[in-house]
Amino acid sequence: MPYKGGVQLLPETQRRPTLASYTSGNSYFYAAVALGAVFLVISATLAGWRANIRDNIDAIDGQMSVSENARNKQQEQELVNASKQSRIMKDLLFNKLYWSQALARMQQMMQSSVTLTQMEATATKGTISFRATTDSYASVARQLAAFVAATGVNDISIKTIKATSQGTVEFDGDLIIDTKAMLTKQQPKK
């Protein structure tokens, strides 16, 4: 439209708005830029911190690797074995059986006229099965009385008593023993 004089309110040509026209003096935009800058600074700081932490982790991993290589596994195994040994030893020694002690007690119980011809002693059953010969039924009776009176014999079961053609008397039976009293060492009382 040609100029006709006077005040012209409308521009002659259409002007497109520029980016600057949106940003200049725009407080929201400035806030966004400031926020972005803050975030960038924070991100950079965190990235530096992470790198530092990773370095520390690598250093610790290195120390762990060194300590792993420095381990003496044979020594450790020896200690583990010693620990196991000391744990089981108490139990095994406490339950250790002393048959020499049982035989000595049995020897004390035996009458001089009685001869043992066979014996089978079993700790798990707690029995001593025996076969013996003697000169008379009276000796058998004395022997049985000695068994009954002895410490460590809980019970006695006689299977057979018979006279032989040689004039002797043969008898056999089982002694039910107190395995604790007969076979284990008595601990001295403190």
Binding site: Y22, T23, N26, S27, Y28, F29, A31, A32, V33, L35, G36, F39, L40, I42, S43, L46, A47, W49, R50, I53, R54, N56, I57, I60, D61, Q63, M64, S67, A70, R71, N72, Q75, E78, L79, N81, A82, K84, Q85, S86, R87, I88, M89, L92, L93, N95, K96, L97, Y98, W99, S100, L103, A104, L116, Q118, M119, E120, A121, T122, A123, T124
Partner: protein, 175 residues
């Protein structure tokens, strides 16, 4: 609302939308790394303390087992079967007790899974006098390795005038 304000608000929203997750994610990663570092440091400290303690205990252990009592301690329940040593010891004991060893059978017994040890079962066939049997049993009981006699069978051999023994015993070694 003017287009300028709309643009500003939009820019601010974009900044929040993109940067906030980035910074928050970065912070979470940093926190995870800090936890990992702390855990590793604790692990290293614990490990160092354990290894130092183990070294000190080993020194004490070595000192303790250097004497006779210490050596016996190790042999009570040995780490390995040591079958040859056991047979040799039984042979020596039999010889010193005046017992004639006729047969030795050794078998590993499958015990309970909960047992911290394994069992070697010995079956011995012998002959000799009654005092020699008592001497043999006494020596077996005194042997440095734990030997538990479970059963004894004695019968008279009329032809030789001697006694025949069958002794079953258990010995132990570590699992």
């Amino acid at each position: 609302m003017s287009p300028k304000n709309i643009f500003g608000a939009f820019t601010l929203a974009i900044a929040l939308f993109f940067f906030w997750p980035a910074v928050y994610g970065s912070w979470q990663e940093t926190s995870a790394l800090r936890s990992a570092l702390s855990e590793r440091q604790q692990l290293l400290d614990t490990r160092t303390a354990i290894l130092t303690g183990a070294g000190q205990e080993y020194t004490k252990y070595q000192a303790a087992i250097s004497g006779d009592a210490g050596r016996n301690f190790i042999q009570l329940v040995p780490v390995k079967k040591n079958t040859a040593e056991l047979v040799s010891a039984v042979q020596d004991i039999a010889q010193n007790s005046g017992v004639q060893l006729a047969q030795v059978q050794i078998a590993e017994v499958k015990g309970k899974d909960t047992d911290p040890y394994k069992t070697l079962s010995l079956s011995l066939e012998m002959s000799g006098s009654y005092p020699s049997l008592r001497s043999f049993l006494g020596s077996l009981e005194q042997y440095v390795r734990i030997l538990n006699v479970g059963s004894i069978q004695v019968s008279a051999d009329r032809s030789s005038g001697q006694l025949r023994y069958s002794v079953k015993a258990d010995s132990y070694f570590l699992k």
